[in-house]
Symmetry: C2
Subunit: 79 residues, 2 copies
Protein backbone atom coordinates (compact mmCIF):
# COMPACT_ATOMS: atom_id res chain seq x y z
CA UNK A 1 0.00 0.00 0.00
CA UNK A 2 1.32 3.44 -0.88
CA UNK A 3 0.58 6.58 1.07
CA UNK A 4 1.40 10.23 0.66
CA UNK A 5 1.68 12.57 3.62
CA UNK A 6 1.67 16.30 2.95
CA UNK A 7 2.92 18.59 5.71
CA UNK A 8 2.25 22.31 5.36
CA UNK A 9 2.74 25.29 7.64
CA UNK A 10 -0.34 26.50 9.49
CA UNK A 11 -1.86 29.81 8.47
CA UNK A 12 -0.20 32.70 10.21
CA UNK A 13 3.14 30.94 10.64
CA UNK A 14 5.87 32.90 8.90
CA UNK A 15 7.46 31.12 5.92
CA UNK A 16 10.74 32.86 5.00
CA UNK A 17 11.58 30.15 2.46
CA UNK A 18 8.27 30.74 0.69
CA UNK A 19 8.89 34.50 0.74
CA UNK A 20 12.33 33.96 -0.83
CA UNK A 21 10.76 31.87 -3.60
CA UNK A 22 8.14 34.58 -4.15
CA UNK A 23 10.88 37.19 -4.66
CA UNK A 24 12.94 34.88 -6.86
CA UNK A 25 9.93 34.20 -9.08
CA UNK A 26 9.18 37.88 -9.53
CA UNK A 27 12.89 38.44 -10.20
CA UNK A 28 12.65 35.86 -12.98
CA UNK A 29 9.84 37.87 -14.55
CA UNK A 30 6.81 35.87 -13.42
CA UNK A 31 4.10 38.44 -12.73
CA UNK A 32 0.94 37.80 -10.82
CA UNK A 33 2.47 35.51 -8.24
CA UNK A 34 0.90 36.07 -4.84
CA UNK A 35 1.79 34.21 -1.69
CA UNK A 36 4.07 31.17 -1.95
CA UNK A 37 4.31 28.66 0.89
CA UNK A 38 6.55 25.65 0.98
CA UNK A 39 5.78 22.32 2.59
CA UNK A 40 7.01 18.76 2.62
CA UNK A 41 5.71 15.56 1.13
CA UNK A 42 6.51 12.01 2.21
CA UNK A 43 5.81 9.01 -0.01
CA UNK A 44 5.63 5.96 2.20
CA UNK A 45 5.27 2.31 1.23
CA UNK A 46 3.47 0.17 3.76
CA UNK A 47 3.20 -3.59 3.92
CA UNK A 48 -0.09 -3.37 5.86
CA UNK A 49 -3.24 -4.29 3.95
CA UNK A 50 -5.79 -2.94 6.44
CA UNK A 51 -6.56 0.59 5.29
CA UNK A 52 -8.02 1.78 8.62
CA UNK A 53 -5.00 0.56 10.58
CA UNK A 54 -2.64 2.03 7.99
CA UNK A 55 -4.35 5.41 8.32
CA UNK A 56 -4.13 5.32 12.11
CA UNK A 57 -0.43 4.37 11.87
CA UNK A 58 0.30 7.17 9.41
CA UNK A 59 -1.38 9.73 11.67
CA UNK A 60 0.69 8.48 14.61
CA UNK A 61 3.85 8.79 12.46
CA UNK A 62 2.95 12.40 11.70
CA UNK A 63 2.27 13.23 15.34
CA UNK A 64 5.46 11.58 16.56
CA UNK A 65 7.99 12.33 13.84
CA UNK A 66 6.96 13.80 10.54
CA UNK A 67 5.15 16.98 11.51
CA UNK A 68 5.53 19.59 14.21
CA UNK A 69 1.85 19.94 15.05
CA UNK A 70 2.41 23.23 16.87
CA UNK A 71 3.11 24.98 13.57
CA UNK A 72 2.26 22.44 10.87
CA UNK A 73 -0.81 20.71 9.48
CA UNK A 74 -0.68 17.33 7.83
CA UNK A 75 -2.84 15.44 5.37
CA UNK A 76 -2.74 11.69 4.80
CA UNK A 77 -3.76 10.16 1.47
CA UNK A 78 -3.77 6.43 0.88
CA UNK A 79 -3.51 5.31 -2.74
CA UNK B 1 -6.29 31.01 -8.37
CA UNK B 2 -4.44 28.57 -6.15
CA UNK B 3 -2.00 25.97 -7.37
CA UNK B 4 0.00 23.21 -5.76
CA UNK B 5 3.29 22.01 -7.19
CA UNK B 6 4.70 18.73 -5.91
CA UNK B 7 8.37 18.01 -6.56
CA UNK B 8 9.61 14.47 -5.97
CA UNK B 9 12.88 12.70 -6.64
CA UNK B 10 13.01 10.53 -9.75
CA UNK B 11 13.14 6.78 -9.33
CA UNK B 12 16.65 5.55 -8.85
CA UNK B 13 17.89 8.79 -7.30
CA UNK B 14 19.23 8.12 -3.81
CA UNK B 15 17.26 9.77 -1.01
CA UNK B 16 19.32 9.75 2.21
CA UNK B 17 16.75 11.88 4.00
CA UNK B 18 14.03 9.36 3.17
CA UNK B 19 16.25 6.53 4.37
CA UNK B 20 16.86 8.36 7.67
CA UNK B 21 13.10 8.74 8.15
CA UNK B 22 12.63 5.03 7.38
CA UNK B 23 15.10 4.10 10.12
CA UNK B 24 13.64 6.60 12.56
CA UNK B 25 10.14 5.20 12.00
CA UNK B 26 11.25 1.64 12.60
CA UNK B 27 13.15 2.87 15.68
CA UNK B 28 9.88 4.32 16.96
CA UNK B 29 8.25 0.90 16.62
CA UNK B 30 6.35 1.32 13.37
CA UNK B 31 6.56 -2.04 11.63
CA UNK B 32 5.77 -2.66 8.02
CA UNK B 33 7.21 0.59 6.70
CA UNK B 34 8.88 0.06 3.35
CA UNK B 35 10.56 2.73 1.29
CA UNK B 36 10.14 6.36 2.35
CA UNK B 37 10.93 9.20 -0.05
CA UNK B 38 10.73 12.86 0.74
CA UNK B 39 9.74 15.63 -1.63
CA UNK B 40 8.66 19.24 -1.59
CA UNK B 41 5.36 20.96 -2.07
CA UNK B 42 4.76 24.58 -3.07
CA UNK B 43 1.40 26.28 -2.59
CA UNK B 44 1.25 29.24 -4.93
CA UNK B 45 -1.40 31.92 -5.25
CA UNK B 46 -1.78 33.38 -8.72
CA UNK B 47 -3.67 36.44 -9.81
CA UNK B 48 -4.12 35.03 -13.34
CA UNK B 49 -7.59 33.84 -14.28
CA UNK B 50 -6.69 31.98 -17.48
CA UNK B 51 -6.13 28.37 -16.43
CA UNK B 52 -4.12 27.37 -19.51
CA UNK B 53 -1.76 30.32 -19.15
CA UNK B 54 -1.42 29.68 -15.42
CA UNK B 55 -0.48 26.06 -16.07
CA UNK B 56 2.13 27.05 -18.65
CA UNK B 57 3.56 29.63 -16.22
CA UNK B 58 3.71 27.11 -13.38
CA UNK B 59 5.55 24.61 -15.57
CA UNK B 60 8.04 27.31 -16.55
CA UNK B 61 8.53 28.15 -12.84
CA UNK B 62 9.30 24.50 -12.14
CA UNK B 63 11.77 24.25 -15.01
CA UNK B 64 13.53 27.47 -14.10
CA UNK B 65 13.50 27.52 -10.31
CA UNK B 66 11.45 25.07 -8.32
CA UNK B 67 12.67 21.70 -9.55
CA UNK B 68 15.98 20.28 -10.67
CA UNK B 69 14.68 18.34 -13.66
CA UNK B 70 17.82 16.24 -13.87
CA UNK B 71 16.89 14.40 -10.67
CA UNK B 72 13.35 15.55 -9.87
CA UNK B 73 9.86 15.18 -11.29
CA UNK B 74 7.15 17.74 -10.74
CA UNK B 75 3.37 17.72 -10.83
CA UNK B 76 1.19 20.81 -11.17
CA UNK B 77 -2.36 20.88 -9.80
CA UNK B 78 -4.61 23.89 -10.16
CA UNK B 79 -7.44 24.19 -7.65
Amino acid sequence: MKARITVTLKNGVLDPQGKAIEHALSGLGFDGVGQVRQGKVFDIELTATDKAKAEADLKAMCDKLLANTVIENYAVEIA
